[in-house]
């Protein structure tokens, strides 16, 4: 086939066939000596997406590596009742502007989704790309109550916490947060301790690690003797991570390798960590699929309760009312089953009419599997 190659970015060399083949061969050289295929968990949803989008998954399988998707999709692990609380507010009051990220608006609940709900006249939903836009909204519309509904991991938490700083400085009385903040290391501890899944190692999330650095994963190597590597998001980054984990397994010396050093510093991002420390405190959190995990969430400190939408509007988060269908997102999130094992996948659950959050989010294991591997393969 002829035609010039246009597809060049600063990362082009990270995506070439040569680089991939080279790394896959190196991985295979290691796994050849192992008795069985290795099961590694890619914690981050963006890793899941890259693995499918680049077609790496079957290539890795051929090299003796089975990758299982972890709980690293914030939309997926946020329970329905957060959405329901927001829906209640939009349908009860006429002065509410809810700002949130695009993916979150499509999660189906018993009360519909944020996109299908019809708010009271005067209230509305606004999709934003950055939490800062919510501050601008509050500033320009003083007669409205602006709520930022933010779900996220360590990656997005500092940016959202920063809006509390800005809002205090601007003395904004009409801005508040509904936070669904989740911390990755405690969730990994819960997955390991549950013992439901035999995982040989972890590919740690690159973006989260930019904030928290290497140390928060140390207990996984020290206490549980499981290897892991922080990886970036180019196909070659993920392969480097896998190679590192495989080598740790062969040498019998598990550690926290950093294969994303061009961005991740060992100590993380001190400013971001300081922001989180100042405005937020740890709390037990309820993860979809994983249940309540101690110290795995963050909430606004009492000093900043004026910005806490839960208190300001007496919102009730009502756990235990979810699970309305045969949707098995919970087990998918734990890595216990693959998307294709769910009876709804591709039969009653599609990206345009999702039954659960894993089919909603761009990082959701079900949507990723559907988009890049096709539902027909599971019929």
């Amino acid at each position: 086939m002829t035609g010039p190659v246009f597809h060049r970015t600063p990362f082009s060399d990270w995506r070439t066939r040569e680089t991939t083949d080279h790394l896959l061969r190196a991985i295979e050289t290691e796994t050849r000596h192992l008795p069985a295929a290795l099961k590694l968990m890619e914690v981050c949803g963006t890793h899941t997406m890259v693995l499918h989008r680049s077609g790496l998954k079957p290539q890795l399988r051929a090299a003796g590596i089975e990758l299982i998707s972890g709980p690293g999709c914030p939309v997926c692990i946020t329970p329905d009742y957060y959405h329901e609380a927001i829906i209640d507010l939009l349908t009860a009051r006429d002065d509410i502007i809810v700002c949130t990220f695009g993916d979150l608006t499509r999660v189906p609940t018993r009360k519909g989704s944020l996109q299908t709900v019809v708010p009271q006249p005067g209230s509305r939903l606004k999709i934003v790309y950055s939490p800062e836009e919510a501050i601008k909204e509050a500033w320009s519309q003083p007669d409205k109550q602006v709520i930022f509904f933010g779900a996220g991991f360590e990656t997005t938490i500092p940016g959202i916490a920063f809006t509390v700083k800005t809002a205090s400085e601007l003395n904004l009385k009409n801005y508040s947060l509904l936070t669904a903040f989740w911390l990755i290391p405690p969730a990994l501890r819960a997955i390991i301790e549950s013992g439901e899944l035999a995982i040989n190692g972890f590919i740690y999330p690159g973006h989260v690690s930019v904030i928290i650095g290497e140390k928060p994963y140390a207990f996984i190597a020290e206490k549980y003797h499981l290897p892991g590597a922080i990886s970036g998001f180019e196909p070659a980054d993920i392969l480097l991570g896998v190679l590192s984990v495989v080598r740790q397994i062969r040498s019998g010396k598990p550690r926290v390798a950093n294969e994303y050093q061009r961005v991740v510093k060992p100590q993380g991002n001190p400013q971001a960590l300081a922001l989180m420390e100042k405005y937020l405190s740890k709390t037990a959190a309820d993860w979809r699929g994983l249940g309540i995990i101690p110290d795995s969430g963050l909430k606004l400190k009492p000093d900043y309760s004026a910005f806490d939408a839960l208190k300001k509007f007496s919102l009730k988060l009502k756990p235990g009312q979810t699970g309305k269908t045969a949707c098995r997102c919970g087990e998918v999130l734990k890595g216990l089953i693959g998307p294709g094992d769910c009876p709804l996948f591709g039969r009653q659950c599609w990206p345009d009419s999702p039954q659960g959050p894993c089919m909603v989010s761009y990082e959701g294991a079900c949507l990723v599997e559907y988009k890049f591997s096709g539902a027909k393969h599971h019929d």
């Binding site: 086939m1 002829t2 035609g3 010039p4 190659v5 246009f6 597809h7 060049r8 970015t9 990362f11 082009s12 995506r15 070439t16 066939r17 680089t19 991939t20 083949d21 963006t46 499918h52 989008r53 680049s54 077609g55 790496l56 998954k57 079957p58 290539q59 914030p74 939309v75 990220f101 695009g102 993916d103 979150l104 499509r106 996109q115 299908t116 999709i127 790309y129 950055s130 779900a151 996220g152 991991f153 990656t155 997005t156 973006h207 196909p235 070659a236 599609w350 990206p351 345009d352 009419s353 989010s361 761009y362 990082e363 559907y370 988009k371 890049f372 591997s373 096709g374 393969h377």
Partner: protein, 328 residues
């Protein structure tokens, strides 16, 4: 589903099901069942219609005026017809600025002239404030057939050509709609495809303009109408550098971004180079490329497979839901 949702119009699975189950079945006739971009009428004529509801009305590289002419012209071109006459219907919301309306009409005039088409009849309606989105435009077009798409003649060895860099229109709209603080320089590729017309006499088997759903959707839908799988190579797909930077930041798959001045062409293998060179000799086709082929070695009939830059294989599904920027 008891009510119409936005998803129904997003060009995804729900829309395809709606059209085939609720519309085509109801009005069943041999012309409609062909489901070309334009209907082939007796007497060598082609007829098409399209409604335009773009937000924002003005965007880098075009506006609703240039869009409503080029879009309809392109539907005729890829159906094998030389566009001749267009209709123009305006549905305007009360309170819409007259100055903007005039700007749009000027743009329509300019684009129609560029395409050598005449607007020969039309209609104007005004709806009360709050009952419309500023302005909606419908155009219909007729043209004389020069050739016919022949999907049934497509066979293994035939090549798939894309006529230029893809995804710019969809990205330009997305960036201006969401007011992203991102300077990308990306402009809509909104343009007429008239330069493709001579190819109908040079052995082209099939054409489709890439619109909503992007390149992936056009390919996936083509694969479902023929008996062989398609294989395209990621490295061969032309993208502008500007676009590549922006989609990385936004986390958007450019294969699903709309175009308004690009087409996919299927040509017999032995004519591929010749037709590619013809395309490239036109300024609008300078970036044209052979991106893949109809084949039998990989995949099942009905499938479109993408050979990724890293050497993996990925299935291309038609667009299933609207593109939204991601959380992180």
């Amino acid at each position: 589903m008891t009510k119409v949702s936005l998803e129904l119009g997003s060009g995804g699975r729900l829309m395809r099901d709606f059209i085939s189950e609720k519309v085509v079945r109801l009005f069943k006739n041999p012309i409609l069942s062909e489901l070309h971009d334009a209907a082939h009428l007796p007497g060598g004529l082609a007829l098409t219609t399209d409604s335009y509801t773009v937000d924002p009305l003005f965007f880098p590289g075009g506006d609703i005026g240039s869009l409503c002419i080029n879009g309809t012209v392109n539907d005729l071109v890829v159906s094998g017809a030389r566009p001749a006459y267009l209709t123009l219907s305006l549905i305007i919301e009360e309170g819409f600025e007259l100055e903007q309306l005039e700007k749009i009409l000027q743009s329509i005039k300019k684009t129609a002239r560029k395409n050598s088409v005449e607007i020969v009849t039309g209609d104007t309606k005004v709806v009360p404030q709050g009952q419309g989105g500023k302005i909606y435009i419908n155009t219909a077009g007729v043209g004389r057939l020069l050739g016919r798409p022949q999907p049934r003649k497509i066979k293994p060895g035939d090549k798939i050509i894309v006529t230029g860099e893809v995804g710019e229109h969809g990205l330009a709209i997305m960036l201006s709609r969401n007011n992203f603080p991102l300077v990308s320089g990306v402009k809509s590729d909104c343009a007429p495809l008239l330069f493709l017309l001579p190819l109908w006499r040079q052995g082209v088997l099939w054409m489709r303009d890439i619109t909503r759903g992007g390149l992936a959707t056009v390919l996936a839908e083509l694969a479902q109408t023929i008996s062989y799988p398609l294989l395209v190579e990621e490295d061969k797909i032309p993208y502008s550098t500007r676009l590549q930077g922006a989609v990385e930041i936004l986390g958007i798959d450019p294969l699903y971004l709309a175009c308004e001045g690009r087409a996919v062409i299927v040509v017999p293998g032995r004519k591929a180079e010749l037709i590619l060179n013809r395309l490239r000799s036109n300024p609008q086709g300078r970036k044209a490329a052979i991106i893949g082929e109809v084949q039998t070695k990989t995949g099942q009939p009905g499938e479109t497979l993408l050979k990724t830059s890293t050497g993996g294989l990925r299935l291309l599904e038609p667009l299933t839901s609207e593109l939204l920027p991601r959380i992180c």
